[in-house]
Amino acid sequence: MTLPAAIKSDFPLLDQRFHGHQLVYLDSANTSQKPQVVIDAMADYYENANANVHRGSYELAVRATAALEGARAKVASFINARSSAEIVFTKNATESMNLLARSWAEANLSAGDAVVISEMEHHANIVPWHMLRAEKGIELRWIPIDGSGHLDLSDLDRLLDGAKLLSVTAMSNVLGTLNPIAQLSERAHAAGALMAVDASQYVPHVPTDVQALGADFLVFTGHKMLAPMGIGVLWARAELLDAMPPFLGGGEMILNVTKDGFTANEIPWKFEAGTPMVAEAVGLGRAIDYLSDLGMDNVRRHEVELTAYALRTLTERHGDKITIHGPTEPAERGGVMSFIYGDVHPHDVAQVLDQSGIAVRAGHHCAKPLMDVLNANATSRASLYVYNDKSDLDKLVDALSAVDDIFSF
């Protein structure tokens, strides 16, 4: 046991029953549940520290500002950013990616410039580029995936030739594939492109060091890492953020406004127009403390163990029926298992599992181009986090047999 056996009791939501069964939550790649300490930290903020930030001169406003900026410092430390100024708070990873597209890319890309992404991207790392393509005529290039669910990098030099940006997921939300980001950063830089990373599925599960990854931009969201919904992060190197134009205009993001114009604030506040989500930032800071106390190395080890167990038991019990997408080697993937069960539609599989109290996601997982490559219109997906254990997976394996009871014909 690399994580405390009693860890489930830290998460009040998990202690309930559905359809007569104890909840088995296997949808953390979608959103994670929250430990009591995070819920308490947010309540404590509203009970003891709430005021608008960076504005009031009174002691309470100082306390609220310290809460926000303290959370920013925790994020910076958690991903080994050089300074808190490199941490821009957003609503979620999608907004972070749109900020990157609307600010940096709109200012630096023109017609014919290429952005390279991969076939395993989430829509959040596809649609903003489609939008820029429609508006500015940029070119969008795709790194294909191979039959084992890895990126096929054999043609990367040609794809990167003349490209301005390589933007790739660190871990696929469908296949679980861990991509070689440090290597991709080197290749991008050698070709004169910048490197952006969608780390939404990575930062919550794997020790993250943005400097070691060698990236220029990295986005993730709080709600997948035990923090509340409504807080996301864009990390970028300070010199890039300094040079980027503002994203949204309004209060907080300015140093001065006159009838003739405005002077933008310093980073990161230049990108944070309006009253920010302080309680959510506090929740993210507390979630980071919680994960750090567990130890991110332990979190990763726990998930590799559970993933290995899941892949083994699912295949042993249902090997003739189940197809699990993505790398077969647990060390090469995260705890995200997308599967097809016989010819039963994933929506029906998820429905039957729900009847046993098991929550999995069915659908295209916001990755329709990948679904096309996999020649599937949907998969069922079981995904793991710190509070899952082998008993959860045993229940999944058992409950899948009930699918046969209804759909075997």
Binding site: H364, K368, A378
Partner: protein, 164 residues
């Protein structure tokens, strides 16, 4: 407690296993309309052929999806084939009414009234019994969109045919 047997009725599974009117029609004379459920990726293709007198003389269903969307499309095809466009529109309204019954009314027989529509001279062979099996879907609100996908696609096909 709501059980899976409320959703996966035998008649539904039968239409899922053995979908009726599955395939394609030549376009033209048929009209081809696609419907998508962005939540789950389901895709339904309705081929509709309406003759000069306003009778749906042929219908075919393509695409892929879950048991509920596929069986609903199959039952729909049986229900509308050979019927007039007006009958089909009334059936769409009745079916969508059934699917929009509020949860608090589930368990009563309000749904019977919704489906007990009078289709002049055709009621007895309109296969209302098959469609009635889908009423359990309202107890699983997430699945309502699965059941209505083909019907919304049919409505779009009828609208396009009327505008043409």
């Amino acid at each position: 407690m709501i059980g899976l047997e409320d959703l996966y009725r035998e008649i539904i599974l039968d239409h899922y296993r053995t979908p009726r009117n599955r395939g394609e029609l030549e376009t033209p004379p048929a009209r081809r309309v696609e419907g998508f459920n962005p939540l789950c990726g389901d895709e339904i293709i309705v081929y509709l052929q309406v003759d000069d007198s306003g009778v749906i003389d042929d219908v075919a269903i393509g695409g892929q999806g879950c048991s509920i969307s596929q069986s609903s499309a199959s039952m729909m095809s049986v229900a509308i084939k050979g019927r007039t466009v007006e009958d089909a529109r009334r059936l769409i309204a009745a079916f969508k009414g059934l699917m929009s019954i509020h949860e608090t009314e589930i368990g009563g027989d309000g749904s019977e009234a919704a489906l007990g529509i009078e289709l002049e001279g055709t009621t007895e062979d309109m296969k209302l019994g098959d469609l009635e099996a889908l009423r359990g879907v309202v107890k699983f609100p997430i699945r309502i969109k699965c059941a209505t996908l083909s019907w919304n696609t049919l409505a779009q096909a009828l609208d396009e045919a009327a505008a043409a």
